[in-house]
């Protein structure tokens, strides 16, 4: 009878939908994936080694380049780690500004993540362009505050670089007015779309117990139905002062992850509104810690983690008492979320691989470090 034969296909490293230089060595039987091996490191620059040669402050712009979609979140995690290590207090207004920035980051990341995922499904750029639309505006805000759109480098130990410019808050309010309509529109474009449902429902299922055993985090974990959100599980910064919900999925497939991301955007918007209500006056404390150029923490170690848009982002620092970290380790969410990729793809079709990868939402800058 007809004898089928297993075929090895290299998807990547140069491939339109691997989100960077990422390679998947796929063994297929017909169109069914039998095995998949992720191969990466093409973007490896030994970030940790570079960081150990720099002073604490000098590392801040390098963290921008980890997950270049979410530089604010990376800044936050690193600043928190150093503050824990050196025992630096952060003024309240600065904390609020940080939360504001990170939540804006979450919105822009999820918008573009959803767009990229649908793009991988084959929608020719339109959802991506719609996802980029609000991203652009949020990036404008970032530029207004920090001076750069992507590599913000906005946080400092014990605060942020400078206070928000006066035109920031009115513009943000204006943006917030449009945001629900925007999210609704993105959802309306895609949510009931029969083709999307066909491509997403039941694809790339990651059952909750498996998800937990693989140590994935962020929307991937919550999409599998485990309501683990660092903002709730171990509240940092001022997150314990806000009301927001944790969306979880039911099945753990691509569709759940998509819906969780959409819902998280709404929750982030809620948080931002609360931040604007509670934002203390600038008179309270200085938020420009110009004096903290040379942090010299005592010997010891510190670990700080935040709920970055992609998952749990952690920084582990060991200090030997000098101005440079003795050890600097990043726990990158994209990297760890790739662990179950092989198992998630097994048994599905080749065309599903890119969708599953898109639903994990990786950034190679963070994976390869």
């Amino acid at each position: 009878m007809l004898q089928t034969q297993e075929l090895q296909v290299n998807i990547g490293p140069q491939h339109p939908s691997t989100h960077g230089v990422f390679r998947m060595l796929v063994t297929v039987d017909g169109e069914t994936v039998v095995d998949l091996k992720p191969v990466f490191g093409y973007l490896h620059r030994n970030h940790e080694q570079i960081a150990e040669a720099n002073s604490y402050l000098q590392n801040m712009p390098y963290t921008d380049r980890l997950d270049y979609f979410n530089s604010m979140a990376n800044n936050h995690a690193y600043a928190m780690a150093v503050e824990r290590l050196a025992g630096i207090e952060v003024p309240e207004r600065a904390e609020y500004i940080r939360v504001l920035m990170v939540e804006l980051t979450r919105i822009l990341n999820h918008a573009s993540a959803v767009g990229f995922m649908i793009n991988d499904m084959g929608a020719w750029q339109t959802p991506l362009a719609f996802g980029m639309r609000e991203r652009e505006k949020i990036l404008d805000l970032f530029e207004m505050a920090s001076g750069a759109r992507l590599m913000c480098n906005y946080f400092r130990f014990g605060g942020v670089v400078r206070d928000l410019p006066p035109e920031f808050i009115p513009n943000l309010r204006e943006l917030l007015r449009a945001l629900p309509a925007y999210i609704d529109e993105l959802e309306r474009l895609l949510r009931d779309n029969e083709i999307l449902l066909q491509r997403a429902i039941g694809i790339g299922i990651l059952p909750p117990e498996v998800a937990l055993s693989y140590g994935v985090s962020g929307p991937v974990l919550r999409g599998s139905g485990i309501p683990y959100d660092v903002r709730k599980a171990e509240p940092y910064s001022v997150y314990d002062r806000f009301d927001f919900d944790v969306p979880v999925g039911k099945v753990g497939d691509v569709y759940d992850r998509f819906l969780v991301r959409i819902e998280e955007m709404r929750q982030s918007k809620r948080i931002i509104e609360q931040v604007l209500e509670q934002l203390p006056d600038a008179k309270g404390g200085h938020i420009n810690p110009k004096a903290r150029q040379n942090v010299r923490p005592p010997v010891g170690d510190a670990y700080a983690r935040i709920e970055s848009p992609k998952g749990e982002l952690g920084f582990y620092l060991v200090s030997d008492g000098s101005t440079r970290p003795y050890r600097y380790k990043v726990r990158a969410p994209s990297f760890i979320n790739l662990t179950p990729l092989a198992d998630m793809c097994r048994g599905y079709k080749v065309a599903d691989i890119v969708v599953i990868l898109g639903s994990i939402d990786i950034v190679m800058g963070e994976v390869d470090r």
């Binding site: 140590g215 010891g300 008492g321 726990r331 760890i336 662990t339």
Partner: protein, 175 residues
């Protein structure tokens, strides 16, 4: 939200796995400076586990204590003290602060039993540690370099790895 201090964890571990714990002495991270005050010693409060008991301790943490989320494995190269320290970080899915297990292995023979067959979350962490620090994880199903290319020699994150990259620069200027 469950909370557990390192001391409590140590007590629970001592109760369940008395052979696992090691009394760890504080480390001096850097050699004492020629002049100026000696920076303090590194003495974290977390329990330090014997390498051969690591798997049992980790599974105890997961199955009995319920800390089912292995978040991070960080390796630190204490060149002066002559050891690698592996920092395993666990969290409870119900939230709360995490707990930490530490494992110290000598620098000249860094072998640690692998957690991957029991706990797949350790897979990439261990491969990364192997790639950058050269720590052998006995029993890891696929211990290959993850970032560097397979032919790469040496382990770039070790503290004694040459930092200036003379080896590569010298070759470059020949052309």
């Amino acid at each position: 939200m469950p909370e557990m201090t390192p001391a409590e964890l140590r007590a629970r571990l001592a109760e369940a796995l008395p052979a696992a714990l090691v009394e760890a002495e504080p480390l001096a991270i850097t050699p004492p400076p020629a002049h100026g005050p000696q920076p303090g010693l590194f003495n974290p409060p977390d329990p330090v586990v014997r390498p051969d008991q690591l798997v049992a301790a980790a599974l105890f943490v997961r199955d009995t204590l319920g800390y089912a989320y292995l978040s991070d494995i960080a390796v630190v190269d204490y060149l002066h003290a002559g050891c690698f320290e592996l920092v395993y970080r666990f969290y409870h899915p119900s939230g709360g602060p995490g707990i930490v297990l530490r494992v110290r292995v000598p620098r000249d023979e860094p072998v640690v039993p692998s957690l991957t067959p029991h706990w797949p979350a350790a897979n990439f962490h261990e491969r990364e540690a192997f790639d950058l620090f050269g720590i052998e994880f006995a029993g890891h199903p696929y211990l290959r370099r993850i970032y560097m290319w397979d032919e790469f020699e040496g382990f770039p994150m070790r503290k004694d790895f040459p930092r200036q990259g003379d080896k590569y620069l010298g070759g470059e200027s020949e052309g």
